[in-house]
């Protein structure tokens, strides 16, 4: 159990550093880094706080606390992925509308030029 929790701690720290590095290099925008930083922080706290993890496992009716950690990690990342699906959908809609608008404006400009 201790080895798994240590691995989770390392994973959360690596994730946090990777996200901060990406934000610094402008690979991820600050607003989208919040979800990842929140998720990694949550993971870090749970992997270090045995009492919290034990309490959650008890509430979930689990006899093996690391299983609670895995379930929670899964749920947290599910929320992050869902959030990004919403963001991607918005971006796609905006992109399509913009591409259509660009094509229409270009078409009208060309039509005006041809009429002259």
């Amino acid at each position: 159990m201790e080895r798994l929790l240590n691995a989770m701690t390392v994973l959360s720290i690596v994730l946090m550093i990777a996200v901060l590095y990406s934000v610094r290099r402008s690979h991820i925008r600050v607003e989208y880094s919040v979800s990842w930083l929140g998720a990694s922080l949550f993971l870090l706290i749970l992997s270090r706080s045995h009492s919290t993890l034990n309490w959650i496992a008890q509430q979930l009716g689990l006899t093996y606390p690391p299983l609670a950690l895995i379930i929670l990690v899964f749920c947290v990342f599910l929320v992050v992925f869902y959030r990004f699906s919403v963001v991607i959908s918005d971006l796609k809609d905006a992109n399509i509308a913009m591409a259509q608008r660009l094509a229409i404006v270009e078409f009208q400009l060309q039509s005006q030029n041809e009429e002259r």
Binding site: I96, A99, Q100, L102, E106
Partner: protein, 243 residues
């Protein structure tokens, strides 16, 4: 391309993606049947010279900056048609499957019945195999699902040979399904309690290229469309709580 001469004016919309083998012929055929109607080809970022061929055939060509898929391509055409003031738009696919000889009949039904959409149907009145068994099975399933939603039977819900009036055009400029749009478009119109009619048409085999719906994509298509229909049903205006 000119603006509409009046609220009753017709535009022929031809969505095309890599249709260099057929597009010239389609434009020529449409022009033969409807010499006065302007033709707008929406080129969905083709890489095979479709744009140049359509231009040289005399059509107006709306070129999309990158590939949007059929729904985005058709919607771009609808948006431009609406802005130019057209009262009716009839869509004829760029692959040559739709016989332009039926365009006058579609337009006549649109004008005379006052319906919002008219569908060129392979299965309405004409009996006989016009498609593969697997596709016919899929179409049968869609008919079954759509019957209670639309409140009347639709014989060929996957047909892209459709005409719309200005009211439907306005709706579609704001909301139009992006992938496999034909079936969902019917439900979008139903949300507004719009009416549609079917006109019997014979479809031809495509002249070049392949259908966007391959055997591998069929299952995805089925799930995607059914989900799209379900989501659109949830959006029904009549079912929203009155404020």
């Amino acid at each position: 391309m000119r603006r509409a001469n009046g609220p009753d004016d017709l535009l022929i919309l031809v969505p095309a993606f890599n249709e260099s083998g057929a597009i010239g012929g389609v434009i020529g055929e449409v022009r033969g049947v409807m010499p006065d109607a302007p033709i707008l080809v929406v080129d969905d970022a083709s890489s095979d010279g479709t744009y140049d061929l359509a231009k040289s055939a005399g059509a107006g060509v709306l070129r999309l900056p990158h590939h949007l898929g059929l729904g985005g391509c058709v919607q771009a055409g609808y948006k431009l048609a609406f802005e130019l003031g057209y009262g009716y738009v009839i869509r004829v696919d760029g692959d040559g499957q739709h016989d332009p000889a039926y365009i006058p009949r579609l337009l006549e039904v649109l004008r005379e019945t006052g319906c919002h959409m008219v569908i060129g149907s392979r299965f309405y009145e004409l009996k006989g195999p016009h498609t593969s068994a697997a596709r016919a099975l899929g179409i049968g399933l869609f008919r079954l699902v759509l019957r209670p939603i639309l409140g009347k039977p639709v014989h060929d819900p996957t047909s892209g040979f459709v005409g719309v009036n200005r009211e439907a055009l306005q709706v579609f400029t704001g909301s139009f399904p992006l992938e496999y749009p034909e079936i969902e478009a019917l439900v979008v119109l139903q949300r507004k309690r719009f009416q549609f009619q079917e006109v019997s048409c014979r479809m031809r085999p495509r002249k070049t290229g392949r259908s966007t719906i391959t055997a591998v994509k069929s299952l995805y298509y089925l799930i995607h469309v059914l989900l799209g229909v379900f989501v659109n049903v949830l959006k029904f205006e009549g079912r929203r709580r009155k404020k």
